[in-house]
Every structure is written in structure tokens, then in C-alpha cells.
């Protein structure tokens, strides 16, 4: 992409809009986008309807997942309730040939990607580090270290480009992770190699308990892209129409050979960092209720309803599907899978080392001894 320099030497083509792009206001009314460096138009009602349905189901599964922690079925769960527009919208803008690089908070994005919720939750249940096949879904394992996966996204996007494919990579990241070094290295590598990757920052205002004000002095996290020569945009992350519209532009930008794109989505996680954390220690009830009024799901549902794209029956139908999928998830999570300790040495290397084979034999002998002891006891 040719960068246009304004008289002051500012690369205006790269600059985000002064205010987050918003197309659908919190009252569910489509609004004229405020003046910005790039203009976006609202996606079709058909696509917004699909997005809404994904959000309904995603939220229901997210709430169910949190409930599963209370029943001891999941070791931990980082909720993304309130961030559905980002997770569902971003995923709906890419296709099956594109790559996705999620963090541990992207459960709803994984569900939207078509990954079985049980497989998506395997990491958090504690059976294995990744329950799905990353190559089959073109979706990397959920990343726990912060921002390290962004470099993998840049590399995969560049690899696709080298292969002559037009596939892009979508990489999720939170606001706190923009402070990590790998974030900056990833933006720089992606820009230098013109890798078709979209860095999607869900700025949900807190990195566990540390607020954005203590994380960064940048006017907006979207400005961090400019220094690397990466076109950047900030959006109202609770506005599903803005998420989809700007994601469409980002995908088009990357797919057509213009290199990386950074999106900062201003959003809010309604729950704590995980079920294990007490959010009341670092934020007020007033703050939470103010964000409740900006709920992305209610907002889109209002617009769809008012404009005749949605009726009571369709809402009941989507909610019913959410209930069924939540119930299915609950049932299947109630089954206790047997994890075989003999498998511990599988997949460290293609072939175990002689030292691993020795240890494997030791574990096998221990297991056999335990089994025969248990058999004797039961007689």
C-alpha cells in the first residue's frame, strides 16, 4: 500500500478514526459514521441476522461454561460475556481457508469457528492442552502466554502468501498483551514482510485487575500500529455492525496484498478475568451497569426487530437452539473421560528418546502394579 503523507508528514492512510467507528448506537439505531479517515457502511441485514444468531448461541454457551466451573467440570473459565460482537463478528468475516490464532478467552470465537465446544473446552477441563485439531480447523491452539501467538500468525500469513494463497490470518489479543514485546515484534515483522494478518485487539479495559490507564499512555491502542506502518482502526467493539464492517475492510485489505491491519475494539468483559477472580476489588458496580447498557446483543436485536428482520418466533427459535446446545454441552461435560497416563510420552518428539523410553517403562510398571493391587483389594 502506498502511504499518503499529509503536509505534516503524518501517514493519513494508516491513521485510525479519531473516535471509535460506530454504525449502530447503543439504542439499536443505525447512525451515520462520524467523520474518519476511512468510511465504512453497515453490512446487509442478512449478515447481521447471522451475526446476531451466533451471538445468542455464543452467549448461552459462555454462560454455560461459567456454570460448569461451579460444578467442578472446568478447572477455570475466562468468560467473554459482553464481547460477543468482537468474537463472533471477527470470525464471521473470515472463511475456512483463513487462519485463526486465539487466546484462552476466545471460546466463543472457537464455537463460531465451528469447533465442537467440548473440544474447545478441553484445555480448560484439564484433559489435554488442545482438544481440537489445529490443522483441520486452521485454528492454532489457544495461547496462554500473552501475544506470543501474534508472531505465529504473522509467520503463517506470510507462509500462505509465499504459497500463492490468498488466505489471511486473524489473531486475537487483549489490551494488556499490547504491552508485551512480541506484540511489537509481530506488528513489525508483519509490516516488513507485508504479511496478510489482522491483529484484533479486544480492549476490554482490564488486564486481570490493571486498568488501561496503567497499561498504556497511547491515545488509543490503535495508534500503536502507525509506527510500524500498519493500517489501524478503532471501533466500538460492542457494535456488531462496526465490527463486521471494519473486519470486512481489514480482510479485503490483507487479502488483496496490502499487508497487515490492526483493529482496536473498545469493549468490556462483563464477568471477572476468570471465575477465580473477584472483579469487585478493582471496578465499581456503576461502571459495570453503564456497560450493560451498551450490550452488543441487545443492541443488534433491537435494530433487527424494529426493522422487521426478527420476530418473537425467530428469537425463541435462536434461544431454543442455544438451550439445546448448552444442554448438549452440559451432558457431554458430565462424562468423565479417561486420560491414559501411558500417553504422556507420546508427541514430545516424533520418536521418544531412549531416556523417555526408560521412563515410559517405569510408568507402565507402576500402572500395572497399581492395577494388580486394586484387583487384589477388590477380592
Amino acid at each position: 500500500m502506498e502511504t499518503t503523507l499529509a503536509p505534516g508528514g503524518v501517514a493519513t492512510d494508516l491513521l485510525p478514526s479519531p473516535q471509535p467507528v460506530q454504525l449502530l448506537d447503543p439504542d439499536g439505531v443505525l447512525v451515520e459514521q462520524a467523520a474518519g479517515n476511512h468510511q465504512y457502511t453497515a453490512p446487509s441485514a442478512e449478515r447481521l441476522l447471522e451475526l446476531w444468531r451466533g451471538m445468542v448461541i455464543g452467549r448461552r454457551l459462555d454462560v454455560q461454561s461459567t456454570a460448569l466451573t461451579k460444578q467442578g467440570r472446568l478447572a477455570v473459565y475466562p468468560s467473554s460475556r459482553g464481547q460477543e460482537a468482537c468474537q463472533v463478528g471477527a470470525v464471521q468475516a473470515i472463511t475456512g481457508r483463513d487462519w485463526m490464532f486465539p487466546t484462552y478467552r476466545e471460546s466463543v470465537a472457537l464455537f463460531t469457528r465451528g469447533i465442537d465446544p467440548v473440544e474447545a473446552l478441553t484445555l480448560l477441563r484439564g484433559d489435554a492442552h488442545c482438544g481440537y485439531d489445529p490443522m483441520a480447523h486452521k485454528t492454532a491452539p489457544q495461547c496462554t502466554p500473552l501475544s506470543t501467538q501474534l508472531l505465529h500468525a504473522a509467520g503463517a500469513a506470510y507462509g500462505e502468501k509465499r504459497r500463492g494463497s490468498d488466505a489471511v490470518a486473524l489473531a486475537f489479543i487483549g489490551d494488556g498483551a499490547t504491552s508485551e514485546g512480541d506484540f511489537h515484534e509481530a506488528l513489525n515483522f508483519a509490516a516488513v514482510f507485508s504479511a496478510p494478518v489482522i491483529f484484533f485487539v479486544q480492549n476490554n479495559k482490564y488486564a486481570i485487575s490493571v486498568p488501561l490507564a496503567k497499561q498504556s499512555k497511547a491515545p488509543a491502542l490503535a495508534y500503536k500500529g502507525i509506527g510500524y506502518g500498519v493500517r489501524s482502526e478503532q471501533i466500538d467493539g460492542n457494535d456488531p455492525a462496526a465490527v463486521l464492517a471494519v473486519m470486512d475492510a481489514a480482510v479485503e485489505h490483507a487479502r488483496s496484498g496490502h499487508g497487515p491491519f490492526l483493529i482496536e475494539a473498545h469493549t468490556y468483559r462483563m464477568d471477572a478475568h476468570t471465575n477465580a477472580d473477584d472483579a469487585s476489588r478493582y471496578r465499581t458496580a456503576d461502571e459495570v451497569s453503564a456497560w450493560l447498557a451498551k450490550d452488543p446483543l441487545a443492541r443488534l436485536q433491537t435494530w433487527l426487530t424494529i426493522n422487521g428482520h426478527l420476530d418473537e418466533a425467530a428469537i425463541r427459535d435462536a434461544e431454543q437452539e442455544g438451550e439445546e446446545r448448552a444442554s448438549d454441552l452440559r451432558d457431554r461435560m458430565n462424562a468423565e473421560p479417561q486420560v491414559d497416563p501411558n500417553s504422556l510420552f507420546d508427541n514430545v518428539f516424533a520418536e521418544p528418546t531412549p531416556q523417555q523410553r526408560e521412563q515410559q517403562a517405569m510408568v507402565r510398571a507402576e500402572l500395572e502394579a497399581d492395577a494388580s493391587y486394586a484387583e487384589e483389594e477388590s477380592r
Binding site: 489435554a128 485439531d133 489445529p134 508472531l151 505465529h152 504473522a154 509467520g155 512480541d182 518428539f349
Partner: protein, 336 residues
């Protein structure tokens, strides 16, 4: 036959691997036009183009993380960390992702890549240019750790590293880059996990690797004058480790000295000593001795000769193996 340096052999190995497999790429800082600060990538960009051997931004985590992503699309990257200590910013990528990805994903994602790291001292390098970091990598499950000591092994092991389905940390002893051998390339040496007996002997086994191999061989020659017939084993690959060759030798000689340039505490030499003690206890005539770098940061160039395990220290250790007098190995500070 022609005279080949270790640097030539590594360059030829990269050249041949890139020529043979279109998925093999070489990248890192200064590896393109300059040909690497040690010229190991000399001429590759010229011959194969920037698509196959290219310069990257100066960011080690970036280089490794980017290579991991490229593996997802079927490439087999070989990346260069310019010097041992410069690789530390990439340690998280190496430890948390490179080493674990096959295991994390139940074998669905494999990362067939090589990280080349010029390492260790003896070349008068300034600080951060002489670290022996093999212990960190060997301690991380999922990484193979390789270090050649001859031009033939440099060629053969690097070709095998590039063909390997798992990530390989390829440690290049800087001090040996200019070592020579009469050799016809390509050459195929024994595979990973097979140590080499560099000198046969009957009285003492020295177990060593990489930059310390020539020093150990010199010490073995010197020891002959004192009546010791010393066997020298070069591990070649630290991971996987060749217990078999080491154990066979020590059971025969009854005495073992482990030589490593790395600082000794909690290092590879300690691991070797422990393995030998566990497996050869009844054959040992004396405790396993370690001759290593000192437990200090690698010193300034003018003092590196004091730091490095040299011939004299190895001979002293061999002398102690007579075990006539029990040496006082009590912590010096405690007895003073």
C-alpha cells in the same frame, strides 16, 4: 579430498538442503547480503534469491515466532541467532511454543525447524558473545540439542537437523569454525543419538562435546606421558543422549572425567556425571570428575583462558582419579 573448515561444511550443508527441498528457508539478522557475521550463509542469497535466504528485522523472538508460523504452512525454516546470548529474547518462543507444540497439539502440529546458534568462547569475544547456553535447551523437553566438533559432523548433523521432524537447537562452537579436515562433501556420519569415540583408551573415559573436544584430545595425548591411556567420547548430540556408548566405555575404563565449557553448576556435565554414577557405580574406581567453566558469568576476553577448562585442569582431574588420597571437595567457603 579437499581441505574443509567447519564453516565451509555448515555453509555447504545449508546450500545442499536449500537446493534439495524447496520448503527449506534460511533467515535471520545479517544472513543475506552479508552472509552472516561468521559467513556461514555466504552466497546463499546470491545463488537462491531472497525468497530462500533473507534478512529479517533485528528481533530474536520475532525470528523464532515467525518461523513457527511458517512451519504451519509447510516450510522448514532454518534460522540463525547471531550469538548465544542474543538468543535469550527468543527463549519464551523456544520454550513455550517451539519445544511444546507437538505435545500441546497431540502430534497434529509439528515444527520441523532448526535454530543455529554460534556459541561458547575461546575467540576473545566481548560480553554476551561467548555464553554456553546448551544447558537451558537440553533442560527443555521437546528440543533436540546438537553440537558438532568436526567439519564432517558439522555437515552431516546439520543436514540431519534440517531433515528432522522435530525442532533442533544446533549449537555451533565458534572456536571451531576455522578448524580443518580433509574431506569430500557430502558426507554422512552416524545419526543423532550416537556418540563418537574420538580416541580409544583403556584407563580413563573423557566425555565431552563441541568446543571442548580438541582440548580433551590434547589432554589425552599429554596424559599418555604420565602413563594414562585415555578414551575420548564426543557426545555430538546432547539430546538425544547416548547412554550406551558412555556406559560401555566407563565400565571398561573404570574412570570418568566430564569436560564441558559451560558453567558447571546444574549443567550438562552434572547430568552426564549423574548418569554415569547411576549406571557404572560398581565399575568405578573413583568418583566421576567434572571439569567445567567456572560458576561465574563468562569473563572479559583477557581472562577467558582462566575460565576455560584447559588441558592442565583436565590432567589434574585425571590425576585425582588415582584416588590414593581422598580429595577435599568440601565447599571451600565452609572450610576456610
Amino acid at each position: 579430498m579437499s581441505t574443509v573448515t567447519m564453516g565451509n561444511a555448515l555453509n555447504q550443508a545449508l546450500h545442499d538442503a536449500i537446493a534439495e527441498d524447496e520448503n527449506v528457508l534460511m533467515f535471520g539478522e545479517d544472513v543475506g547480503t552479508l552472509g552472516g557475521v561468521f559467513r556461514i550463509t555466504d552466497g546463499l542469497t546470491e545463488e537462491f534469491g531472497e525468497e530462500r535466504c533473507f534478512d529479517t528485522p533485528l528481533a530474536e523472538a520475532g525470528i523464532v515466532g515467525f518461523a513457527i508460523g511458517m512451519c504451519l504452512t509447510g516450510f522448514r525454516p532454518v534460522v540463525e541467532m547471531q550469538f548465544d546470548a542474543f538468543a535469550y529474547p527468543a527463549f519464551e518462543q523456544i520454550n513455550s511454543h517451539l519445544a511444546k507444540m507437538r505435545n500441546r497439539t497431540g502430534g497434529k502440529v509439528t515444527l520441523p525447524m532448526v535454530i543455529r546458534i554460534p556459541y561458547a568462547g575461546g575467540i576473545g569475544g566481548v560480553e554476551h558473545h561467548c555464553d554456553s547456553s546448551e544447558g537451558y535447551y537440553a533442560h527443555t523437553p521437546g528440543l533436540k540439542v546438537v553440537t558438532p566438533s568436526t567439519p564432517a559432523d558439522a555437515y552431516s548433523l546439520l543436514r540431519e537437523a534440517i531433515a528432522d521432524p522435530d525442532p533442533v537447537i544446533f549449537m555451533e562452537p565458534k572456536v571451531l569454525y576455522w578448524s580443518k579436515a580433509d574431506l569430500e562433501l557430502p558426507v554422512q556420519e552416524p545419526p543423532f543419538g550416537r556418540a563418537a569415540v574420538r580416541r580409544k583408551g583403556t584407563d580413563v573415559t573423557i566425555v565431552t562435546y563441541g568446543p571442548s573436544v580438541p582440548t580433551a584430545l590434547k589432554a589425552a595425548e599429554a596424559a599418555r606421558e604420565e602413563g594414562w591411556d585415555v578414551e575420548v567420547i564426543d557426545l555430538r548430540t546432547i539430546v538425544p543422549f547416548d547412554d550406551e556408548t558412555v556406559v560401555e566405555s566407563v565400565r571398561r575404563t573404570g574412570r570418568c572425567v566430564v569436560v564441558s565449557e559451560s558453567q558447571g553448576f546444574a549443567g550438562v556435565a552434572g547430568e552426564v556425571a549423574a548418569r554415569v554414577s547411576e549406571r557404572c557405580f560398581h565399575s568405578l574406581e573413583a568418583p566421576v570428575a567434572r571439569v567445567t567453566g567456572l560458576d561465574i558469568p563468562y569473563p572479559a576476553p583477557k581472562l577467558e583462558h582462566t575460565y576455560l577448562p584447559g588441558v592442565e585442569r583436565i590432567l589434574d582431574a585425571i590425576g585425582r582419579l588415582q584416588w590414593d588420597d581422598v580429595p577435599d571437595l568440601t565447599h571451600a567457603g565452609a572450610s576456610a
